[in-house]
């Protein structure tokens, strides 16, 4: 409630600040705008920023620290017998206070001291949000008045606003980078926990994957075995099949679109191909499991081959179809980037269209095409849904595409689905697999980017 009011007040003050700054700047030179250092709208933005930003900053800091501060104050008021306990009990106490303060029953009778503390907590929070409303409004008003006083024809409002925008841009890019770093770190920490239980050598080179661990000590036959080689092999097998489908088809489609199709055809053909990239992978999964797999199996049987109902071939083919638009769209861009002068040079020597494409255009575009294929490979390795639905869960170490195999991503998905204890190696092994997957795709992407950069230098 107070929060909404504060946001509305801030928005209002910002708008008022903008109008005020603009008109005051215009007024300060009697309407002769050219005498201003910056045009009036920059003065407006300057005042608006002063009205909005400090209050917003306060708002963020307040919200980040208020809960913790109030909790500390509440705990300080409790008798020692409740607070002088170990960390886990303290956490439980905090959770109880929070629940009671929000009116959620803890499901057991609570200590009257704790109930009192919860009431105290709720009261403090209410005071906190009211004071935030008051202080925030004051800060916004103060900023507005401060900036308004500064307005003069010489104020370098444009430079200051642009610097503020600059900082905002940096902050936005930092958000993306820090998120990535955070993800990598959390992956890394959990993976390290896993590797303290299972040796990395066993994990990376072991040939047997069977992550079921015993829940009770007397259980039989589920000691847990974390040799990930069958998963890597399965991933490789499916990726290779997918690339065997996607690379020729995608590349041919790209060549057709960029070299042979007339522009009209191209303008609607390319978007249609790109629609393939917009189909949710779950839908591809249906297609793989319900259409492709039985089809592959039927064909196999008519040829006298034993095909398992969840074959690597079916999953790989469908994944290849999914990746076609990546290969074709990226390759098409790369082929289009080959300068027309090279084609003219080739035609001028009496080369035919196909000779020109094969001997001049494709070699010139090759680095870019390789990069496109690498991006497609990393996409294929990371793809989950199709393989979850169509490739199966049995960790076979096989090179036979008609067998069922499982992949790294499938295992991660199954290991983390449902209720899991978070300290068992079974669950933690998902993070080990995730780390390997991350390293592989990161490497592929980096190599691809490097290749693309090298290619860019070529024609200038």
């Amino acid at each position: 409630m107070q929060l909404t009011v504060l946001v509305l007040i801030l928005a209002l003050l910002t708008v008022i600040g903008f109008q005020m700054g603009r008109s005051r700047a215009a007024g300060s030179v009697g309407g002769r705008i050219v005498e201003l250092h910056s045009v009036p709208s920059y003065h407006g933005f300057y005042v608006a920023l002063w009205a909005g930003l400090p209050a917003l900053l306060l708002f963020v800091l307040w919200n980040a620290s208020e809960g913790w501060l109030v909790m500390q104050m509440t705990l300080a008021g409790l008798p020692d017998r409740l607070t002088q306990v170990n960390e886990q009990a303290l956490n439980l106490l905090r959770a109880d206070i929070l629940n009671l303060a929000h009116g959620i029953s803890t499901g057991r009778d609570s200590d009257p001291a704790v109930i009192a503390a919860a009431e105290q907590y709720a009261r403090l929070r209410a005071i906190g949000s009211w004071s935030l409303l008051v202080i925030g409004t004051c800060v916004a008003m103060g900023g507005l008045l401060y900036a308004r006083r500064q307005i003069s024809p010489d104020l370098r409002a444009r430079n200051r606003v642009e610097r503020a925008v600059n900082i905002a841009l940096v902050v936005c890019s930092l958000v993306a980078i820090l998120t990535t770093v955070g993800i990598v770190l959390s992956l890394l920490f959990e993976a390290v926990r896993f590797f303290t239980v299972v040796s990395p050598i066993d994990f990376l080179f072991g040939l047997h994957w069977s992550p079921q661990t015993a829940i009770r000590a007397d259980q039989v036959g589920s000691s847990g075995s974390f040799g990930a080689v069958p998963l890597f092999a399965g991933t490789m097998l499916i990726t290779v099949i997918a690339m065997l489908v996607a690379v020729p088809v995608g590349l041919m489609a790209a060549i057709f679109m960029s070299e042979y199709a007339n522009p009209n055809l191209r303008t609607w053909l390319k978007p249609i191909l790109e629609i393939l990239a917009g189909i949710p992978t779950v839908v591809y999964g249906f297609f793989a499991a319900l259409t492709m797999a039985p089809f592959v199996r039927g064909v196999g049987q008519s040829l006298g081959l034993g095909v398992s109902s969840e074959s690597a071939l079916a999953a790989g083919i469908v994944m290849g179809v999914m990746i076609i638009p990546f290969v074709s769209s990226l390759s098409d861009d790369v082929i289009n980037a080959v300068p027309q002068s090279l084609r003219d040079g080739s035609y001028g020597l009496g080369a035919t269209k196909s000779e020109t494409v094969r001997l001049v255009v494709l070699p010139a575009a090759l680095p870019g095409i390789v990069a496109a294929i690498m991006l497609a490979v990393s996409r294929a390795i990371g793809e989950t849904m199709i393989v979850v639905m169509a490739a199966g869960l049995t960790a076979n170490l096989t090179a036979n595409p008609l067998d069922a195999v499982t992949t790294v991503t499938t295992q991660i998905a199954t290991l983390l689905v449902g209720d899991q204890e978070f300290d068992s190696p079974k669950t933690l092994s998902a993070f080990g697999l995730g780390l390997v997957l991350f390293v592989v795709t990161l490497t592929l992407n980096m190599v691809a980017l490097r290749v693309v950069q090298k290619y860019r230098e070529k024609y200038d």
């Binding site: 040079g345 001028g348 020597l349 009496g350 070699p363 070529k458």
Partner: protein, 273 residues
């Protein structure tokens, strides 16, 4: 279709060179070119003599490059470009049914404004044409063509030790000579040059001009240029184009000393263009 028997429609302005001069290699009769609805050439008549350099001059947008690109049907690669009239090579209509544009371009080679070596080695750049036309099957034969072409283009001494290095690594002038060598390698009869020196510095330009003069012995050359001194230096015949018309065509000396049309005079004396 026999061209020789036809009466040149534009004979009035073309002081025919056939009287005693070298044989005619290419003929254009009433050539009109349209880009969509826009007419770029309005009926060009021109005769190109064998083993001579013909310079096409004129202000920008006058259609000289368009005309050049008609001679080996490079305009075919441009969407909605339409060519009317007759262009003949050795008396044979190049737009005729039994001439394939691809074969034509092997006989009428082209050098472009901006050097455009393929991103391949110097050797492969030269060997590209002969290989696709099956002119050389053995390595030795290809080697010989490469050597000879580079020698003729005056580039051999500069690149003989680095034939395996990429052609794109050469300087601009060297790249353009590489492109000329590449055109020579398929033994064309006519070489078309579209402002071959406009992207080059004066020294590289002088090199190319010398080369053009030497090549005249074996090839017929048509060169488009914006540089009138260049036209005067390298060509024997000059044709002046203006707004899609061929205004005047004569011996280069005549054009530059004694132009008949006042538009030509205006252009070469620098009053416009």
């Amino acid at each position: 279709m026999s061209v020789q028997t036809q009466i040149p429609a534009g004979a009035a302005m073309t002081r025919s060179a056939s009287a005693g001069g070298p044989p005619i290699k290419m003929v254009a009769r009433d050539v009109k070119v349209y880009y969509g609805a826009k007419q770029a050439l309005k009926g060009i008549n021109l005769e190109i003599q064998e083993n001579r350099v013909m310079a096409l001059i004129g202000p920008s947008g006058c259609g000289k490059s368009t005309f050049l690109r008609c001679l080996n049907r490079m305009n075919d690669t441009i969407e909605n470009c339409r060519v009317e009239g007759l262009i003949a090579l050795d008396g044979e209509d190049v737009y005729g049914k039994n001439i394939d544009a691809v074969q034509l371009r092997a006989r009428v080679g082209m050098v472009f404004q901006k050097p455009n070596p393929f991103p391949k080695s110097i050797y492969d750049n030269i060997a590209y044409g002969p290989r696709i036309h099956g002119m050389a099957t053995h390595r030795d034969e290809v080697d010989e063509i490469v050597t000879k072409s580079l020698e003729r283009a005056g580039l051999w001494n500069e690149v003989k030790d680095r034939l395996r290095e990429p052609g794109t690594g050469l300087s601009g002038g060297q790249q353009q000579r590489l492109c000329i060598a590449r055109a020579i390698a398929v033994s064309p009869e006519v070489i078309l040059m579209d402002e071959p020196c406009s992207a080059l510095d004066p020294i590289a330009t002088a090199h190319i001009e010398e080369l053009i003069d030497e090549l005249r012995e074996n090839y017929t050359i048509v060169i488009v240029t914006h540089n009138m001194q260049q036209a005067a230096r390298v060509s024997q015949k000059t044709a002046f184009f203006h707004l899609g018309d061929m205004v005047e065509c004569d011996d280069t000396e005549e054009i530059f000393t004694n132009p008949r049309d006042e538009r030509t005079q205006g252009y070469i004396t620098g009053r416009y263009g």
